[in-house]
Symmetry: D2
Subunit: 450 residues, 4 copies
Amino acid sequence: MDLWWNNNIKATKFVKEFTAGEDIELDQQLVKYDVIGSIAHATMLNKIGILSTEELAKLKKGLKEILKLDKEGRFQINVFDEDVHLKIEDHLTRKLNGIGKKIHTGRSRNDQVLVVVRLFSKEKLLNIQENVLELCSALVEFGEKNRDTPMPGYTHFRKAMPSSVGLWALSFVESLLDDLISIKSAYSLNNQNPLGSAAGYGVPINIDRELTTKLLGFERIQNNVLYVQNSRGKIESAILSALAQVMLNLSKLSNDLIIYSSDEFGFFDIPEFLCTGSSIMPKKRNPDVLELVRARANTVISYLSQTMSIIKDLPSGYNRDLQETKGPLIKSFNILNRCLDMTGAVIKNLKVNESRLANAFNSQMFAVDEALNMVGEGVPFRDAYKNVELNFLHPPKDLQNPKQAIKARTYTGTTGNLGLHNLQKQIIKEKNILLAEKEKFKGSVDRLLR
Amino acid sequence: MDLWWNNNIKATKFVKEFTAGEDIELDQQLVKYDVIGSIAHATMLNKIGILSTEELAKLKKGLKEILKLDKEGRFQINVFDEDVHLKIEDHLTRKLNGIGKKIHTGRSRNDQVLVVVRLFSKEKLLNIQENVLELCSALVEFGEKNRDTPMPGYTHFRKAMPSSVGLWALSFVESLLDDLISIKSAYSLNNQNPLGSAAGYGVPINIDRELTTKLLGFERIQNNVLYVQNSRGKIESAILSALAQVMLNLSKLSNDLIIYSSDEFGFFDIPEFLCTGSSIMPKKRNPDVLELVRARANTVISYLSQTMSIIKDLPSGYNRDLQETKGPLIKSFNILNRCLDMTGAVIKNLKVNESRLANAFNSQMFAVDEALNMVGEGVPFRDAYKNVELNFLHPPKDLQNPKQAIKARTYTGTTGNLGLHNLQKQIIKEKNILLAEKEKFKGSVDRLLR
Amino acid sequence: MDLWWNNNIKATKFVKEFTAGEDIELDQQLVKYDVIGSIAHATMLNKIGILSTEELAKLKKGLKEILKLDKEGRFQINVFDEDVHLKIEDHLTRKLNGIGKKIHTGRSRNDQVLVVVRLFSKEKLLNIQENVLELCSALVEFGEKNRDTPMPGYTHFRKAMPSSVGLWALSFVESLLDDLISIKSAYSLNNQNPLGSAAGYGVPINIDRELTTKLLGFERIQNNVLYVQNSRGKIESAILSALAQVMLNLSKLSNDLIIYSSDEFGFFDIPEFLCTGSSIMPKKRNPDVLELVRARANTVISYLSQTMSIIKDLPSGYNRDLQETKGPLIKSFNILNRCLDMTGAVIKNLKVNESRLANAFNSQMFAVDEALNMVGEGVPFRDAYKNVELNFLHPPKDLQNPKQAIKARTYTGTTGNLGLHNLQKQIIKEKNILLAEKEKFKGSVDRLLR
Amino acid sequence: MDLWWNNNIKATKFVKEFTAGEDIELDQQLVKYDVIGSIAHATMLNKIGILSTEELAKLKKGLKEILKLDKEGRFQINVFDEDVHLKIEDHLTRKLNGIGKKIHTGRSRNDQVLVVVRLFSKEKLLNIQENVLELCSALVEFGEKNRDTPMPGYTHFRKAMPSSVGLWALSFVESLLDDLISIKSAYSLNNQNPLGSAAGYGVPINIDRELTTKLLGFERIQNNVLYVQNSRGKIESAILSALAQVMLNLSKLSNDLIIYSSDEFGFFDIPEFLCTGSSIMPKKRNPDVLELVRARANTVISYLSQTMSIIKDLPSGYNRDLQETKGPLIKSFNILNRCLDMTGAVIKNLKVNESRLANAFNSQMFAVDEALNMVGEGVPFRDAYKNVELNFLHPPKDLQNPKQAIKARTYTGTTGNLGLHNLQKQIIKEKNILLAEKEKFKGSVDRLLR
């Protein structure tokens, strides 16, 4: 190996390929955001006198051209470009000569990465919220339609008590709405402007961070310039925590669906066009898509602990290790959006087998009802419990009616009182909040690209 | 092994020990919360006519007695009790006979675990916030005192640019304040009343969840009773995500301190009474406490992924696997509180070696200043950069002054403009919000125990 | 907090409690091994002239006394002892005065921890192997008894093809036997003598590592003294990888048993004395013990990644972070041994419901047989597959016989050719190897304690 | 979304894209192995009479053609092919008509995936061993050259005792050689033939697994056909455990190098052509490549826990979740091989600064030597220790000589007795074993492709 080090091109390629890693591929998705960030930075440089108005205009034109080239698939990053940021600077320098050489005044590449990842995450977090709310709507619709369909409730994977398809479906809606709390908290952490940190220690020129914050539509400045650099990976892990919460939901939903659509349960049917066959067994229909949702939750959880591990022992200030937090983030957004799509498709096309659900009930599932019946007659619960434990054989027939049983649970949150209307209202409210936030984001991007 | 199964006591002990696991030990910390939850439940049972007012009074007296016994260390849970919940019910039954037998009406043990863990977490999350804010105050004080002390800024573990002790210390304050966003988001998720879910499918009696919600001081009802059960482990993992964020901060702070107090750097001195010696090397002083903070961050991160993995593939409804989410949560709170204490003690007693800091500066750290100096004279940045890259030897003397350099960075968030006042205001604001929330929580607990 | 630092006892306690962490509790299990290691070290010090023969005799007596005290529960480590090593040295010093002061010549506490953890792990790895082989025997017996009992084979949690209870049970035996390869590899890594590394850089006296290696029964010296220290956590993680493999097996076995003993499947019955009831539902019988095995697999997997994360970024040489690798190791051994016990108990008492197994077969499970039937008549497989896919209704009756079907699979490893005899032979062989290794280990320990 | 389900092509694409995931890209690396596996299977089908000798010859020709196309980059898998296995079968069917339709007789796609992943892993594990041994050689050469160069030994990131560059470098060699134990154990687990399991339950035809085992060069048959399917992900995780061990070594080595080449330490110089610059700071040289090695260790550790989590709760038999174990495996091999290359390049070009190493010694590092000096004069160690602790100021000058100090440690494994010759012999031995195994593997592949 030693000898070829004399060959500089080989050595450079060896190092560049190693350091680039997956960046070449990942950065292709980030061109748009670096253009936006660069326009804001250039606008600020104009304001503080480093770029003339004419220079700014040329740079903006050049950057918008890059955006156009990228849309047409003609702005391909390769290993000798290193990354999207150098590629864009190089492009501007070649096209605009001296002007391109000025754009990097007062910023570092890590500054750029930070602003690009924040903008990207912002847009993706808005998408995720939209898709979560769409899945909620699908589940609410499904739950409402099957609101009064009895279904065995399980504990320990054994039949336990009377439940309903509605209770089951809406449990996921509430869980997803709670996940929005986590997503919005991560969104807020992400919604602060890192630009201006330079290499984490500022620069001795008069950077106007208030201006770039306003131009880029961030909610606030991320103040301390060293914290800006140290927050790389940290905010990513906060986002991944929130995404992991959603994936845990989708995994549970998928696992339930796999079980409930099995030969033995048969409560639901997954439509055939969403099933996959076998290469050896004719006639087999498998829920592969749901199994993959389940498996991919592990991917996102692993990305989370990977990201946390990467940043855990790094000394303050930028370290190249941080580059490896980009892949987990971008891929997790991708996974989550596709999985939300897929589970939505399954829910919208799911068939309910009322007869199999009804037949699945057994008398033991009414043991609590029997015991509480005795409680109504004045027997202390623990005595009633023991009585049923020892003597239970045939609970009174009128107790054994599933439809009646799920109506008899009438207090808040039970099968007879699901709170459907509240959920619908909450979903609409969340959709409106989201819409406003999306408009705002779009507004600032549009203004920059005008 | 087969034969002794005839021996029922042995078999029972075998199973009980296995299922109890660490619960015997962990549950000892939860007695107080089960007492509180049980009083609320009993009050509600009185309101809906299942307990007479006299019965309620006796139960409350019995429960308050348990609290007293526990404080005196005389309410020890053992393996045949199984857990805190059965122990308490048994105690009441033995003491109050028929009345104790009524308290479990309309609730399941899993209901109880949920309410107990929520109340425990609520109190602990308030503690954590308090300790985080105390650490912030210590860091702000330290940062203010050393605001204008120059310190090399590092990237890639190499000297990079002029920085200050103030910038370094305050970077952690801002990071910790951001962590409060995550903690409060987890607090909000946790602040919903699970009681009344029974085994996850409700019961056919008229449980009043609105009442227990009010009595226990929860912000809202966790509506869907199946979601209540499914949220076990989920809310724990949201809390653990937030705790992990703080641990990541403490780990970075500790790692920085270990490095900066080393023989080679010598920027800071950790006071000797917080150091530890060697069994073989006389005179050695080691930063063991900081190394352990760093290591324990891994513990909390692992508990997070453990908890997520436990819940990932569980079918809807209670499964015993969920018991294993209790240990990670309780232990993480413990670890975090102790680590916050310890890092606070280090910061409050840290000594700054100004001369070693000053001597650590070298001329290369002023290369950017030199390049930007040329920019000021009209040279495009990239040309200035190349010029310094090729010709840099002795940057102008007046550029090489650390004190001057950190003052010359004057825009938002840099060494000359740290935003100290804003931070102080924000900390006070957070402390006031926290105080109000603590009073509110204490108020509802006090009312129940009155 | 500042003020009480004047109070030295409080400060010392604060630091000691923090640094001790769980060690006080964990170290109690390690007294025996430190006694053994210390006798070997003292014997060596005698040989190289640092201890007289009389001093050695006194030290051995003192150490054996400690062993006796420990067995009687009268050697309790507390927080001011710090750990088992200092406690033992202090005890010897107090009892034997000047002689106790000599025992630490040429070793460091980290040397001791290393040797203690190796000896402990050695004994535990032998236990684990024994328990794994016992579980194999139980599964082989169960599999043999139910060798020809047809059972549906599943893919994608859907009925797929004819299988047998024997094939299912023995699949776990082969997996566990493969795990022995991993365990023995970890055992071999662990079977090297660390003693003599001192603090990782040796000492300028004439330590005889060959002698302690022989005395302690290690297979070889771990040569490089810095590597000795750096291998802490590394060998632990190799052991944890192997333990995690076994836990993955037990988790899969438990999960299968939970599914197959459910109401819907009903293939197996878990004996009632191994089941647990519900606090609210009379008559409920739950497989809690299996759910906990499944959950605890996550614990061991998390301990593995925790241990790897702890060591990942540590600079060469001892760092206190390494202390935190002790808990995960000790607890994992504990968890695994108990889970092996419990799954063994379940398998030994498991009942097979032949009729439910038989009834679970459906005609579609014979689709491959039908297609291969056509292949036998010269139809290319893919054509036969398509034919069955399109036209399959009633495969020939004689094909639909489960008993016949599982006998018709006759090649190596299939239901008609399970290789039971080979497995039995392999288990006996492994048991003999293990027995010899155990004798050897016991021999060296006995000789030291003589 | 609902409406377009009427559009079958869109629905199919939606499902195919989702299920394919990364497979399209990953499978491109596996063409060769599927060709090999398919030739072995076809040869066996010929032997048992399902393929004529002419048909076999045509299939072999077709398969070898695919290999050629693949080498020329003309065998591109796309999303409608689903995966490499169907693509190859389709290709054969189109080219050879009826004959292609016969090749899938008696095997399933999961059978194929298993055999392909085993063959791929076998080759990669051999590569890894080769690269590990190359790195060992580089480290031995470096260690030998700097055998007697004194270097401070650190504990707790503080100067502790005299050490040498040789001791440091060779500590990694021994650690890597220990890793070979783990790799070979994983290799052995992987070296068993899965082919013939069909879908995990065998088929009613006379598959000859002994023949395919011999043809493919596997060491033994993996017997139980259900275990074959259940071992997917399990063997992957055993491999990943071994790879993680190596990455932990590389991460520690890289971290040490980053520290030792820093401004403050300055022990080593990383050659400039392996360093990377800064976009904002002229003259900066950063060890990015080493930082990335360190970060990528996290990736492999995460892939390990991801893989374990995926398989943990899967019921027996194939589940589609298992597909997600392919990416982590393939990518980890990739990462490890590149990181071995890179660290090798750094070691081969590393410069040692003897003067900075010498200047880094201080008198406190000789405190143990001083104490042991007193021990030589009859003072018990603990008294000597205390004496030095209290009175140490200027240890005798002749003790403070680093060169002398590292020579004075003469027992096994210390600076004066590194065991270099043994290491060299062991490396040669391992290289020879490896060479033989590589020849064997190549032999069986060549025979199949002849």
